[in-house]
């Protein structure tokens, strides 16, 4: 009898103490409320962005409806707006960037986590991450004066003479266009994909690798058959994060893609992306409908990248969950 009451008292104690503690110390309550308030702010900013962008685009949403994303007509003078060429430019340049960046990024991540001598690991990872630190506009500058001329004089003629029978590599080439845009994007998303993949690979416990190696597998076999399957969803998440970055990337692409609202099969042809048209025309947009249409492009970009990020984060969290409360 006495014993049970003692036990229940001990059980009740932490909760009691916690409650007492919270009420007894106003400082803790203020502390929790204050930091909590700023934490709410983070969520509210995302919500406010969603609401504001929708409001800004409402005029165009009502005027054009679904036709906005299927029409190729972008004519500010007649106030007729369709975003298909920009959507096309964004999607194709981003997919091109993924095709180029993913194999390299995976190679980099695998090298850094699995093969690299320990001493070199940190510095090399840091150097790769510097790729992400270089500002977009500097890539654009480099794109105009270094990459585009190089593409025009060397890469594009070579592609044309060897693969010119394909529609993708035909037509005039000036260095500015979809291909150059895709390449510059691939450089910019590479560090994102590589570093998230690295994080995912690091989260796979070593005993999986050791077990495979102990059974006589080569390094490659241990990765292909054991580590990579475990990391798969995280790697897919990393690729989607890279895609999200590519879709929204603005300055560097704007400076090299040629900025012409055309849909062309040739990768040499100039194109235009959603982010670029906003960057180029937002300050000059006269008339509410024009501005609203640009806002709707922004809204599309916002919604798509938001969804991609949500999916990607969930995938990455499945493998490499950020430690919660792990102290």
């Amino acid at each position: 009898m006495a014993q049970t009451s003692q036990v229940s008292l001990i059980r009740a104690q932490p909760r009691l103490l916690r409650r007492l503690g919270r009420e007894a110390n106003p400082g803790d309550l203020i502390f929790r409320t204050l930091t909590g308030f700023f934490a709410v702010t983070v969520v509210l900013v995302v919500a406010a962005m969603a609401i504001q962008m929708t409001l800004g685009a409402s005029l165009s949403l009502r005027e054009f409806g679904l036709g906005f994303i299927t029409s190729v007509d972008w004519d500010p003078v007649r106030e007729s707006f369709g975003a298909l060429p920009f959507i096309f430019g964004t999607v194709v340049s981003s997919l091109l960037a993924l095709a180029l960046a993913v194999p390299v990024a995976l190679g980099v991540a695998l090298y850094l986590t699995e093969l690299c001598p320990l001493k070199l690991r940190q510095p090399l990872a840091f150097v790769i991450e510097l790729l992400a630190a270089v500002p977009s506009v500097v890539y654009g500058l480099w794109g105009i004066f270094a990459l585009a001329p190089f593409m025009r004089d060397h890469v594009e003629p070579l592609l044309k003479s060897t693969l010119g029978f394909l529609p993708f590599f035909s037509g005039p080439h000036q260095g500015y266009g979809m291909l150059t845009g895709g390449i510059i994007l691939s450089i910019m998303i590479l560090p994102t994909i590589a570093s998230v993949t690295r994080e995912v690979l690091k989260a796979i416990p070593d005993h999986f690798r050791e077990a495979a190696l102990a059974l006589g597998a080569t390094k490659w076999e241990s990765l292909r058959d054991v580590v990579l399957p475990l990391a798969r969803s995280g790697i897919v998440g990393a690729v989607i994060l890279g895609l999200g970055r590519a879709l929204g990337e603005t300055m560097a692409v704007t400076m090299v893609i040629g900025n012409r609202a055309e849909i062309s099969a040739s990768l040499f042809a100039p194109s235009y992306t959603m982010a670029s048209v906003i960057a180029n025309e937002f300050t000059e947009a006269t008339g509410d409908l024009y501005l609203s249409s640009l806002s709707e492009i922004g809204l599309l970009l916002f919604v798509v990248t938001l969804l991609l990020n949500i999916v990607a984060r969930l995938l990455v969290w499945r493998v490499a969950r950020p430690a919660e409360g792990a102290r």
Binding site: G27, V134, P135, M255, T283
Partner: protein, 284 residues
């Protein structure tokens, strides 16, 4: 016997091929970095002189002049965006580290992660509709708001991560002495994590310092010295863009010089941040 030898050899050949492919990937990734840094240094160094830092841009067609106003503008934008973004980000990060397990914390953490992937140009549209439309003109404040939103997730998440690195012992020692939780956090945990938080701030500044797209229609541009935070200001990234797409040789020269300044700033911040963290970790 020879069959298994062949298999063995094939498996090792595949392995060697894989190792080589990974090294090639690293080399491929380093080419653009080296090229960008080389071009920026080689072409930018010629444009750097005293005028570049102190003079206003010359009108179209005249050579000379500098980017004093853009440098000043960039510093103003960074300063103000830090004033807005850092308190919010640090306190939100403290909340995440101090009250982790709840659903609400997960939502905040998730929002911050998702937010870091939102294109900066859409953040610009947001700042335009919230600040520029309300004020009726482009302004340094609007640009700072956009940059603050962009730095917010970086500051929040690094603060959280670094507070979690503080050994539980320190906190327990403080709590054991009868100190209340908030005092323990502010005086012991935050103080221990201070260099780490500084690192997060540096990385955030490095990130927003080069942002161009959200400034195009918030801070806009200004050919003269900034009058105040409620007026449009020039900034280095926007100036690089304007000059790069112009047809003038002298402007290209200055764009490269500005790029060199910007890249140097960003690299210095990144290297310092890295060294600070390493120093902390190895010091323990």
């Amino acid at each position: 016997m020879s069959d298994s030898d062949g298999l063995y050899r094939r498996r090792h050949a595949t392995d060697t091929f894989f190792r080589a492919a990974c090294m090639v990937a690293v080399a491929l990734a380093l080419i653009p970095l080296v090229s960008v840094l080389y071009y920026t240094a080689a072409r930018g160094i010629g444009g750097i002189d005293l005028d570049f830092f102190t003079e206003l841009p010359k009108p179209v067609g005249e050579t000379g002049g500098g980017m004093g106003n853009a440098i000043d503008g960039t510093l103003r934008l960074i300063g103000m965006s830090c004033a807005i973004g850092i308190p919010v980000g640090v306190l939100a990060g403290v909340f995440l580290a101090e009250f982790p397990g709840t659903r609400f914390a997960t939502l905040v953490r998730f929002s911050a992660d998702v937010m870091s992937g939102i294109p900066s140009i859409t953040v610009g549209i947001f700042a335009y509709s919230v600040v520029v439309l309300k004020m009726g003109r482009f302004s340094a404040i609007a640009g700072s708001v956009a940059l603050a939103v962009i730095m917010l997730p970086t500051v929040t998440r690094t603060t959280e991560e670094l507070l979690k690195l503080v050994p539980a012992m320190l906190r327990e020692a403080a709590l054991g002495l009868g100190v209340s939780k908030w005092r323990a956090t502010v005086h012991v945990v935050l103080r221990t994590a201070a260099p780490g938080i500084a690192t997060g701030v540096m990385l955030a500044v490095a990130r927003v310092g080069g942002e161009t797209a959200p400034l195009l229609f918030t801070a806009f541009n200004n050919r003269f010295w900034a009058d105040g935070m409620d007026q449009p200001v020039a900034s280095l990234p926007v100036q690089i863009y304007t000059y790069a797409v112009s047809p003038f040789e002298d402007w290209h020269r200055q764009a490269w010089a500005a790029a060199l300044v910007l890249v140097t700033l960003v690299l210095l911040l990144n290297v310092t941040a890295k060294l600070l963290v390493r120093h902390r970790v190895s010091g323990r």
